[in-house]
């Protein structure tokens, strides 16, 4: 039987192996310096809205199957490409939790979550005539979740009087709000199909008052966790009509 620290090391090693496999989309399209010079000479004004991106998070799906079957989380997102630079984003999802602690206390919950925010593309686009497919971004989010949860089988034992009581807190409803810092990459691997991932730091969790606080918040994670999160997405870009580049005679 592995100790808690050994299990954490094992999970980290598995995560690193998965990361080494997943970083291969980083070898995307190379910058073409010749194209940069040509595009500067013949720049024309492009529309504000360049593309709409749809993504589905597969990290939470894999995590639910391989790492922790207690937590089933499903997440998708929509973002809007403005000038190949700003990407207002809406992320939404649903989580279902059924967790039992070592002391046999049980936590069950289900609910939806939403996050809104924006990403800023940190890479310069060499060709402004079409929507950028690959970006390296940083961003901010505000998250909110409304969910129901139950806490059961809380055992209080008295070692001197040798008594045992079992307590439960059922049918609790609460809402939570938090902030996130996000950094990530999205690469267009083939036309309009993207792969991407992001690292997130969640902070400032605010919960509505409840005597028995939740163990897990959908969209946020464990209340007493590190606050770090990770997503791996597969997506599809819907490009908007752009003004075609005209070269000077």
């Amino acid at each position: 039987m592995l100790s808690i620290n050994q299990r954490k090391i094992f999970r980290s090693c598995i995560s690193l192996l998965i990361a080494l496999f997943l970083i291969q989309p980083c070898f995307g399209k190379k910058h073409d310096k010749k194209t940069d010079k040509k595009s500067k000479k013949s720049e024309i004004k492009q529309p504000l809205l360049r593309a709409i991106g749809l993504q589905v998070d597969v990290a939470s799906l894999i995590g639910g199957k391989l790492i922790s079957s207690d937590i089933q989380s499903y997440e998708a997102s929509v973002d809007v490409n403005l000038h190949n630079a700003w990407f207002p984003t809406w992320e939404f999802g649903y989580a279902n939790i059924n967790h039992t602690e070592g002391n046999h206390a049980q936590f069950t919950a289900n609910g939806i979550f939403n996050r809104i925010g924006f990403n800023i593309n940190l890479l310069k686009s060499s060709d402004q005539s079409k929507p950028i497919g690959s970006i390296f971004y940083a961003g901010l989010r505000i998250g909110h979740s409304t969910f129901h949860y139950n806490i059961a089988n809380l055992v209080i034992t008295d070692p001197y009087w040798k008594t045992t009581q079992v307590l439960s807190a059922l049918n609790n409803q609460t809402s939570a709000t938090w902030g996130e810092f996000v950094a990530g990459v999205r690469v267009e691997i083939i036309k309009d199909i993207t792969l991407g991932w992001s690292a997130r730091l969640r902070t400032g969790l605010s919960l509505s008052k409840n005597s028995f606080g939740p163990w897990y918040v959908p969209g946020y994670g464990k209340v007493n966790g590190s606050g770090w999160g990770f997503t791996y997405t597969i997506g599809y870009l819907i490009p908007m009509k752009s003004n075609k580049q005209k070269t000077k005679p």
């Binding site: 980290s12 970083i23 967790h99 209080i156 008295d158 997130r200 028995f212 464990k222 007493n224 590190s226």
Partner: protein, 155 residues
């Protein structure tokens, strides 16, 4: 792009490691709450600490002993019953017995899923026999998981 690629790989690896570096599982606190009784006496109208030698203490109706002829006792830690509102203790010193009766409310306090609940108490009143004990006074009626004196036993 090479530098960007290195930064991206580093961010990915660090974030993957950090997602597993959450707080270690299990509970790291003692959530057994006991009532603290300080032993005192009056000298020249001034309340001072009192030391009992060879103290024997047990809960009424319990075969287990809390203090078994313990020397030099200035304070007693007395566990109240979690499923009743009355708890009685027998205190013996120098072959003289007294019975302390505590009337209390029981208030379960949720800590976390890992630690579960602890039972806190609110003292309503305390009575005692007066063979060696002169009187008992409640100084802090809320019995919680902190080393605070709840009652004063005057000898």
């Amino acid at each position: 792009m090479n530098r960007t690629l290195i930064i991206v790989i580093l961010i990915t690896m660090i974030s993957l490691l950090l997602t597993n570096c959450s707080s270690t599982g299990g509970c790291h606190q003692n959530n057994y709450v006991v009532m603290t009784a300080g032993l005192h006496t009056l000298r020249n109208d001034t309340l001072i600490g009192f030391t009992l030698d060879s103290v024997w203490v047990a809960g009424v109706g319990n075969d287990s002993v809390l203090y078994n002829n313990t020397p030099s006792v200035t304070q007693l830690s007395l566990p109240l019953q979690e499923n009743k509102n009355i708890t009685q203790f027998v205190i013996r010193s120098n072959a003289v017995y007294d019975t302390l009766t505590c009337y209390h409310k029981n208030i379960p306090q949720y800590i976390s899923l890992e630690c579960g609940c602890e039972m806190n108490y609110q003292l309503d009143s305390i009575t005692t026999t007066h063979h060696l004990i002169k009187s008992v006074l409640i100084v802090q009626k809320n019995v919680i998981n902190q080393p605070t004196e709840n009652i004063q036993i005057l000898y």
